[in-house]
């Protein structure tokens, strides 16, 4: 159990209805000597309309947690609750239904696309998934143009192109256009900006937040960048070695951290106006 429960932070959130929560969610890889606990009995309550950040260093189990939440990997132990009820994704139909409500943007836009398909296919899939399979072609094109317009892309310039003809920023924006078409209730964004240059980063974050306003979805950011988490989120979960060591309102956690790990994360954020103290970092690394 996280040791720092802050009830005050929870009260301050916008929505009160739970949309995704978990009890003792655990993922174990391998057996015997190779047994690795990637996610270790984590509890969480994500509320509707919130922006939640899950922060942790590489290897802390963030991506595994995301995959479990998306239903791409099985949960070894524990329960996930979705929209008030226990999540049931035992059949393919239920899974597809679940994925209408929860979608994701991945870290690397360059590997998010099937390089053999034109990018139209990605957007058409979304329309099909929303039940628009039999719409006339003009209507589909109009929807795709609208989605591209939302992320400042010109559909006419993109149609019939292959993913490798786009820049990384364009690809990631197209991923947001995909979410725009799908209109899920929850969006899991797994480090959506870590492979993007700093200028595009702000644009993409703004687009995601705009999209949230537009269709009223919950965004779960997964990131190693605590600065970003502070900038965008209402609630922050700090993850270390498969456990949540601290969570609460963004201000509480970042400005008044109680866990040692959180303090270290905050210290490690590079600051422009201060020289880096490498000696301290090195000794800390040794101490770990």
């Amino acid at each position: 159990m996280p040791d720092a429960t802050r009830d005050g932070a929870r009260d301050g959130t916008r929505g009160s209805e739970l949309c995704l929560s978990g009890k003792g969610v655990t993922k174990v890889f391998g057996i015997g000597a190779r047994r690795t606990v990637a996610v270790d009995h984590v509890d969480f309550d994500f509320r509707k309309g919130e922006v939640i950040s899950i922060v942790g260093e590489s290897g802390s189990g963030k991506t595994t947690l995301v995959k479990m939440l998306l239903g791409l990997t099985s949960v070894t132990e524990g329960d996930v609750f979705f929209m008030g009820g226990r999540r049931d994704i035992s059949t393919r139909r239920l899974k597809t239904e679940y994925w209408r409500g929860i979608q994701a943007i991945f870290q690397d836009p360059f590997s998010s696309y099937n390089i053999f398909h034109k990018i139209d296919a990605v957007l058409l899939d979304c329309i099909n998934m929303r039940g628009g399979k039999n719409l006339p072609k003009e209507k589909k094109t109009e929807m795709m143009s609208e989605a591209c317009g939302f992320v400042n892309l010109e559909f006419k310039e993109l149609t019939n192109k292959y993913p490798f003809e786009l820049s990384g920023g364009q690809m990631q924006r197209l991923m947001i256009a995909r979410i725009f078409l799908l209109q899920p209730k929850i969006l899991l964004a797994d480090e959506p900006t870590s492979m993007i240059d700093a200028c595009s980063r702000a644009t993409i974050l703004d687009m995601l937040l705009n999209l949230r306003e537009e269709i009223g979805m919950t965004i779960i950011f997964v990131t190693h960048d605590i600065g970003l988490a502070y900038y965008v989120s209402d609630t922050v979960y700090i993850m270390e070695k498969g456990r949540f060591v601290e969570f609460g309102g963004a201000d509480d956690v970042i400005l008044r951290p109680s866990a040692e790990y959180t303090r270290r994360l905050i210290q490690d954020v590079p600051k422009i106006h201060e020289p880096w103290d490498f000696t301290k970092r090195a000794s800390k690394a040794l101490a770990r």
Partner: protein, 417 residues
């Protein structure tokens, strides 16, 4: 796809292999048009006729117009051909025993030898160290020599059906010639005949076609099986993976060839057509394709585009076909080429053991080797019955491996220059 083909066509290795294979295929396809008839027709009554141009003696004597040509040395050549080397050696042995110095005898100069012989030979002489049997055989050679220098015309007689009398119908002088192109029936046997008297060249081409077909069927079956099992095992994982890999490991531990022998044997000679043998080869050689496709699939299944495809609600077959298969397609093509090649080799090995396709109905490269070996072609000096087959197998597998290497250079980023 077009881009891939263009890339492949820039690889010299690939193109050489490709052109070789196409050339072989064209020969296999086109030659029967010029030389119709079953390749299994036993045209020669006898075994292992030498390669060469065969012209009808009857037609030459009966129907072809004759021309008189005066060619110097023609007679000498004929006598040369008539007196075998062994007889000359016997003559030399007699002469040396009789007392002629050895360096005065030249068995290669026929005139010299015959002059010496006529001047020296004495039937009643008993040179020391020669058995009477040998002396008698030399006497026979001497008797045969008489006709050699003054040739008699060859006379052709036919029997009158009514009276039964023999009438001379043709008389062939030693300076009469025929033009080969005017002989009605001739047959060029490029590689002579095999032990059954089949035209070996024609059989070789037909056998190459059948062997390629066997290789293709075996390769397609093995690749399809390996691909399907590998994709399933790698992508689904868990119990499915365990079961498939259990069988794959089983097949790896038992040598494939032993399995092949056992299955072929239990099928029985009657049931073993070319297709059945191909299917058997295909069904025993899927293991390595499975293993490597599985490995590649595992590395692909956690890619984001696959996750995204799953999130878009695509079905398992669709994800396998559109999100995994295109990424490993180049590898699968390369595996297919190698499987075809090893299928041809496996058929040859099986047939050499007599477990190949039913022997009487189809020619295959392996069966040609089998019969060549059974009839001791290699001991009889009938190189044409087995060496071209070896060469053809080598050529086919060489060109396929070359294609594979070329593709590897194109697709493998570690080898790309």
């Amino acid at each position: 796809m077009r881009n891939t083909l263009r890339q492949a066509s820039h690889s010299a290795n690939f193109m050489i292999g490709f052109v070789l294979i196409i050339a072989i295929l064209i020969m296999v396809g086109v030659y029967p048009l010029f030389n119709p008839g079953s390749p299994l027709d036993m045209i020669g009554l006898g075994t292992f006729f030498k390669p060469g141009m065969y012209i009808s003696m009857y037609d030459a004597a009966e129907t072809a117009p004759s021309y008189t040509l005066r060619i110097d040395g023609a007679a000498a050549k004929r006598i040369d051909a008539k007196l075998p080397q062994s007889d000359r050696e016997s003559m030399k042995r007699w002469l040396t025993a009789y007392g002629v110095p050895e360096d005065a005898i030249d068995v290669d100069d026929l005139n010299d030898l015959l002059n010496l012989w006529h001047n020296t030979y004495d039937e009643d002489a008993r040179p020391a160290g020669l058995t009477s049997a040998f002396r008698r055989s030399v006497a026979r050679i001497d008797a045969a020599l008489d006709g050699l220098l003054e040739p008699l015309d060859v006379r052709v007689y036919t029997r009158d059906p009514q009276s039964g009398e023999m009438n001379e119908t043709a008389r062939i002088r030693d300076d009469q010639f025929i033009n080969v192109s005017e002989v009605v029936t001739t047959r060029r046997l490029w590689l002579g005949t095999d032990n059954f008297g089949r035209d070996a060249f024609k059989e070789l081409l037909a056998a190459t076609g059948v062997s390629l077909k066997i290789g293709l069927i075996a390769g397609l079956i093995a690749t399809a099986l390996g691909l399907m099992l590998g994709l399933l095992s790698g992508f689904v994982g868990g119990l499915v993976d365990d079961i498939i890999m259990f069988f794959a490991n089983l097949f790896t531990v038992i040598p494939g060839f032993v399995l092949l022998i056992l299955i072929s044997y239990s099928i029985g000679q009657e049931q073993r057509g070319a297709t059945v043998v191909a299917a058997v080869i295909g069904c025993t050689s899927w293991v390595w394709t499975t293993r490597s496709v599985r490995a590649q699939t595992i590395s692909l299944r956690n890619r984001d585009h696959v996750n995204l495809s799953r999130l878009s609600g695509h079905t398992l077959p669709r994800i396998l076909a559109t999100d995994i298969l295109p990424y490993i397609a180049s590898y699968v093509v390369m595996a297919l080429i190698l499987q075809i090649c090893s299928g041809i080799l496996a058929e040859a090995q099986l047939s050499m053991l007599g477990l190949g396709p039913k022997t009487t109905e189809t020619p295959t490269l392996g069966l040609m080797m089998f019969w060549g070996m059974t009839y001791a072609a290699h001991q009889n000096g009938a190189w044409w019955a087995y060496f071209p087959v070896i060469l053809m197998i080598a050529l086919v597998s060489f060109s396929m491996n070359l294609m594979n290497t070329g593709l590897d250079q194109v697709f493998n980023p570690q080898l790309r220059s």
